[in-house]
Amino acid sequence: MKQTHAPQPQGTTGAATGAGIRRFSSPRARRSMLHVVERLLVYGVLTFFAFLFLLPLISMLDTAFKPRALVYSFPPTWFSGDVTLDNFRFGWNALPFDRFLLNTLFVTSVSVCGTVLSSSLVGFGFARYHARGAGLLFMVMLATLMIPPTTTLIPRFVLFAKLGWINSYLPLLDPTFFGMPFFIFLFRQFFRSIPRDYFDAAEIDGCSPFGLYWRIALPMARPALVTSALFATIGAWNDFLDPLIFLSTMDKFTLQVGLATFNGAYYSQLHLLMPMALVGIVPVLVVVVVGQRWILSGLMRQVEK
């Protein structure tokens, strides 16, 4: 019966309009029937989508673990039952993947810190303060997302070459410290969802603007913080085009660039690419699981309050 006290306003299934009104008068048995039906439906829909969403991963797992010969056999044999770790061993040794992983870890951790700090700061500015030109600047900021990266690639490369930044991590890291539009916008929206009274009250109590950001806005937008940290992690971890173009020597390569080395114009070493791609997913998967826990624990706190 605990569930009835938890917030479940989002039911889209069975519960007809007015069910809530009759809540206390309707017989217990019928209610629990409805609950069972609802549970079945919800779990059914979710399981269907879960299967759908796992398809590519299943296919990758299948490829990674099957003997090399079967990887290239057509029509593909699914789950031959022949499981081997050879692909992982050969893949790992084919290229310096330990180095790639370390590099990616470095790039990702620095850019996540940069992204979350700078974007929340800028997002707070856009959310909290009105100023002349704010709307225009906001549009300009969004406009930077509207240019295909391929178009600005060449001018950016020229710029970074002039600065001597080619084959360093600076072209990858520097944008993260100046606020990323996607995250700025995300933070702006979440800060705007915080009732204004909180800020006004704090201001009257003598809180500085930076204090408003640091002590009120950030703690209250914790789901947004965790969400953007998650996204920034995935974004940096999987970033492909920029490292591909701006890094030149193998000792600097990130994981994604390393993986691309298995892929040739005529012939791809899929039996090595897939297992190594899977290895590359593991760290982000850990971050996601932990991150989701955090969001969830935030929910718990709210519920228990």
Binding site: P7, G20, P56, L57, D174
Partner: protein, 311 residues
């Protein structure tokens, strides 16, 4: 209320105007990091791209001024027309699909039932797998002859479309592939749903509101800032669709999946028509800006910010 008082208002020379000025100062202080980054690293390449759209440039020599020639070329460029059509088609189909599906999934997931965290993680997984690996997997799964998808449909006695090799099916297939990346949107929605104060539901329940009513009166308005954010972002993103069409179809068959970003790429890096690619980019930006401004304008009607007036 929050609009800065014009300088000319003499009636309250002190407080409001000074407060507005102070706000202005603080605003620029907070957004300073972005402003610096924009001026240093983004404005240049952006303006360069716009400028080069009026020229022919072979990367090595000085660009040759062509005025509006590239923009005129577009009028009779059938490939451009196809790309424009396909991009708008993709956008119009994939944005509502992604928003509706992810909101639905997020609502289903936003429960304290057993196993929900597992589902959340599963839905997010396709967003973690990136790059070549996953696109190759799509190629296998949707291979008309040997793919698992058609194998499954065949065993169920359903028709087996040619997917990416059939001009009629190619774009719908690309749109379908986009569904796999809604996991990220679901996560944003979940974060948004958790920001909704539970007191609101308690109060509504006391008032005898049903679930559907609560969804419409509380949940949707409360997550509307998130919905708005996602709509703008997903729209902009949908106009940038590149990776799947680049890897899987190269725009074919019969230009059925040629999108503007892909056509821009082809012009810049395959055809050495950098000026034309830049002009196409300008068109793409104009479309994206127009759609974003439209969304911003409509936002006033349906986006609800707690206790904040206006945008």
């Amino acid at each position: 209320m929050r609009t800065p008082a014009p300088e000319t208002t003499r009636k309250q020379p002190g407080r409001l105007s000074r407060a507005a000025q102070r706000d202005q100062r603080r605003f620029y202080l907070f957004i300073l990091p972005w402003l610096i980054g924009f001026v240093l690293f983004q404005a240049g390449p952006m303006l360069f791209a716009i400028g080069i759209s009026f020229t022919d440039w072979l990367l090595v020599d000085t660009p040759v001024w062509r005025g509006l020639a590239h923009y005129r070329t577009m009028r009779s460029d059938a490939a451009f027309h196809a790309a424009l059509r396909n991009t708008l088609y993709y956008s119009a189909a994939s944005v509502p699909l992604a928003i509706a599906l992810s909101l639905g999934l997020a609502l289903l997931l936003n429960r304290r039932w057993a196993g929900m965290s597992v589902f959340r993680t599963i839905f997010f997984v396709p967003s973690l797998v990136s790059g070549v690996a996953v696109v190759l997997v799509w190629g296998w799964l949707f291979n008309p002859r040997y793919g698992a998808v058609n194998g499954l449909l065949g065993s169920l006695g359903l028709p087996q479309p040619g997917w990416l090799s059939d001009p009629r099916w190619a774009m719908p297939t690309i749109i379908l592939l986009g569904v796999w990346s809604v996991g990220g949107i679901v996560v944003v929605y979940l974060a948004g749903l958790q920001n909704v104060p539970t007191e609101l539901y308690d109060a509504a329940r006391i008032d005898g509101a049903g679930r559907w009513q609560m969804l419409r009166a509380i949940t949707l308005p409360m997550v509307s800032p998130v919905t708005f954010f996602l709509m703008v972002m997903v729209t902009i993103g949908s106009l940038q669709v590149f990776a799947p069409v680049y890897v899987l179809t190269e725009g074919g068959p019969r230009n059925a999946t040629l999108t503007l970003p892909l056509y821009i790429y082809q012009n810049a890096f395959r055809f050495q028509k950098y000026g034309y690619a830049a002009a196409l980019t300008v068109v793409l930006i104009v479309i994206a800006l127009a759609l974003t401004l439209l969304q911003l304008a409509l936002a006033r009607r349906w986006v609800y910010y707690t206790g904040w007036s206006g945008r």
